[in-house]
Amino acid sequence: MTQTTLTDFRAAPPAGSTRRDRRRALYWSYFFLVVFVVFFLTPPIYMLITSLKTSQEISAASSPWWVFDPTLRNYTELLTSSVFLTFMRNSAVISLAVVIVTMLISIPAAFALSRMRFWGSATLATGVFLTYLIPDTLLFIPLYKIFAWLNEVTGIEFLNQWWLMIIIYPTLTVPFCTWIMIGYFASIPKELDEAALIDGAGYFQTLTRIFIPVALPGIIAATIFAFTVAWAQFLYPMAFTTSTDQLVLPVGIVTTLIKGDVFNWGQIMTGALLGAAPPLIIYAFLMDYYIAGLTAGATKG
């Protein structure tokens, strides 16, 4: 880019050259956009097509890209099956609860770490981020041992309970959300909380009446993240829950719709699509709000 600017300055370019450059840049961006769209949309479209087929048509050697005999049977069967609805409910309750728990922890934590200077606060903030870097594949066995031990000590049955996920998932969501919020809070000018302090607000009021409204875009971003992580989590529920009525959607689809070596592809695809829908709807819904928040609630007064 520097190159072009330099030449542009030296020899006055013929009129229209900028327009031609711009058009060429547009062509390339459209080319890559199309490549990406094809790449990312092919799997869901394939899922949608397969979900509309009968088992016979799926196993028949016809084109996988066309439905000759469309049917909604996969949908009606899944949506009327109590097992599938239990998975849905478990996933929904867990995800919502995780979002709430995460926000209740990470917003005050981020406020404290970014604004109340106390001994070791900087180290603690870095520590929070480092926690996030530990992969969940390393954590699930120790966590399993911990809850097995807690079960022995307290007598409470932790394992094979869907609500255990509400306790476990925040270990993944809290560090990252706290980190996002620390960044957002740090972008709020110091004078804003000083003004609030002088106006008579305590720490809690500064948080609830100034920081949360001003940092709303960041909070929404963190919420989306927490929800997506909780909704899509596979490893932990796979390891911690086994009974059919305790499963969440991603695990449930895999364990109940694959029987031995029989894959019920039509229903698997339908279940996956239905499972992917809620995050998609939330994204579509909140994205507008998110962008509006970004432009209207800018921090500089």
């Binding site: 302090l197 008579g200 607000a201």
Partner: protein, 366 residues
């Protein structure tokens, strides 16, 4: 409404001192301006009064009550920040009423007080807007409105005009003065701009390197600076400092700039300076406006001399001339009609009635 007292106030960050012992008594309803170059401790002093910084040593009292350990919200102060610090998600009215709402003041009273403050500042038609929709000057007014609404004991201003462009700054300066005349409240105002300090203050506090150099009315600090720093800081263009020696001449005294150039010290000053005859490192301090062309009859203090002009800068109202005397760059202010040209010799008159003699070692004005 309250007086503010600072007694031996010290602030250091780790081991770096920011404020090194300040004593200041601010009277009720007085407008005090803390002025000094950046890093002189003026903002730190203000923030200590506000309670935003801990006091390392000493005592601050507001209205007779020592507030060292009183949190900002209980000090009954209001502060206007350099970047306004308006709450971006609240309307102007909400911004102004935030403090009152926190104190659970009845709604009707809040509305009345907001309306009154808004009418003082002429922002009544902006009350529903968000800070984003306001210009710099309007935001500044809202920030002041937020302070006025609370009717605090003390107003604190932290360089409130430095984010505005030059024209608006002059306008808002007048506005602040006007508001202070209407809403008589003890005010502490911090600025690095000596013009703001001179125009706004009842008393100016000139600070440098963490200490107070001088406290006085604008006229006092201008005409009777206590130190070389104050003499050089207040006034624009700055006061000239010319190395001189002081010598006796008959009954009187004479300051000698160069072998050829010496000025008689006015007799009323001679007694004050007699002890310093023959001392080393003396500076003659003379403001540019006291080095002028000869207009009409000479006044008693004026001494005429010939000098070669290095640079002439026409300002419209008058012309600044620069020349060199005893190795020092000297600036004079001559009438716009005087025929001065760079490189040519010119007759000027130095008004020694306004001279200052400075001990360059101690920095004191003698």
């Amino acid at each position: 409404m309250a007086e503010v007292s600072l007694r031996k106030v010290v602030k250091h960050y780790d081991s770096t001192p920011a404020v090194r012992g300040i004593d200041l008594e601010i009277a009720d309803k007085e407008f005090i301006v803390l002025v000094g170059p950046s890093g002189c401790g003026k903002s730190t002093t203000l923030r200590m009064i506000a309670g935003l910084e801990d006091i390392s040593a000493g005592e601050i009292a507001i209205g007779g009550q020592v507030v060292n350990d009183v949190p900002p919200k209980d000090r009954d102060i209001a502060m206007v920040f350099q970047n306004y610090a308006l709450y971006p998600h609240m309307s102007v009215a909400e911004n102004m009423s935030f403090a009152l709402r926190l104190k659970n003041v009845p709604k009707a009273e809040i509305a009345a007080r907001v309306d009154k403050a808004a009418s003082i500042l002429e922002i009544t038609d902006l009350l529903a807007r968000k800070p984003k929709q306001l210009s710099g000057g309007q935001r500044q007014r809202v920030a002041m409105g937020r302070a006025i609404v609370r009717d605090p004991k003390v107003f604190l201003f932290d360089e409130p005009l430095s984010n505005l462009d030059a024209k608006l700054r002059v306008q808002m300066r007048t506005e602040i003065k006007r508001v202070h005349q209407k809403v008589r409240t003890t005010t502490v105002y911090v600025t690095h701009d000596q013009v703001e300090a001179m125009t706004l203050a009842d008393r100016v506090v000139v600070m440098n390197a963490g200490i107070i150099e001088q406290v006085g009315t604008p006229i006092e600090v201008y005409h009777q600076p206590a130190t070389k720093f104050v003499a050089g800081f207040i006034g624009s263009p700055a006061m000239n400092f010319i190395p001189v020696s002081l010598e006796a001449s008959g009954d009187g005294l004479r300051v000698r700039l160069t072998r050829e150039l010496a000025f008689e010290v006015p007799t009323e000053r001679a007694a004050r300076y007699r002890d310093f005859v023959g001392r080393e490192k003396l500076l003659l301090g003379l403001r540019p406006e006291n080095i002028a062309d000869q207009r009409g009859a000479l006044s008693a203090g004026q001494r005429v001399f010939q000098i070669g002009i290095d640079v002439a800068e026409p300002m419209g109202m008058d012309t600044l001339v620069h020349f060199t005397a005893n190795g020092a760059e000297v600036c004079g202010r001559v009438s716009a009609h005087a025929s001065v040209r760079a490189g040519e010799s010119c007759t000027l008159a130095a008004d020694m009635a306004h001279m200052h003699l400075i001990n360059d070692l101690s920095g004191r004005v003698l």
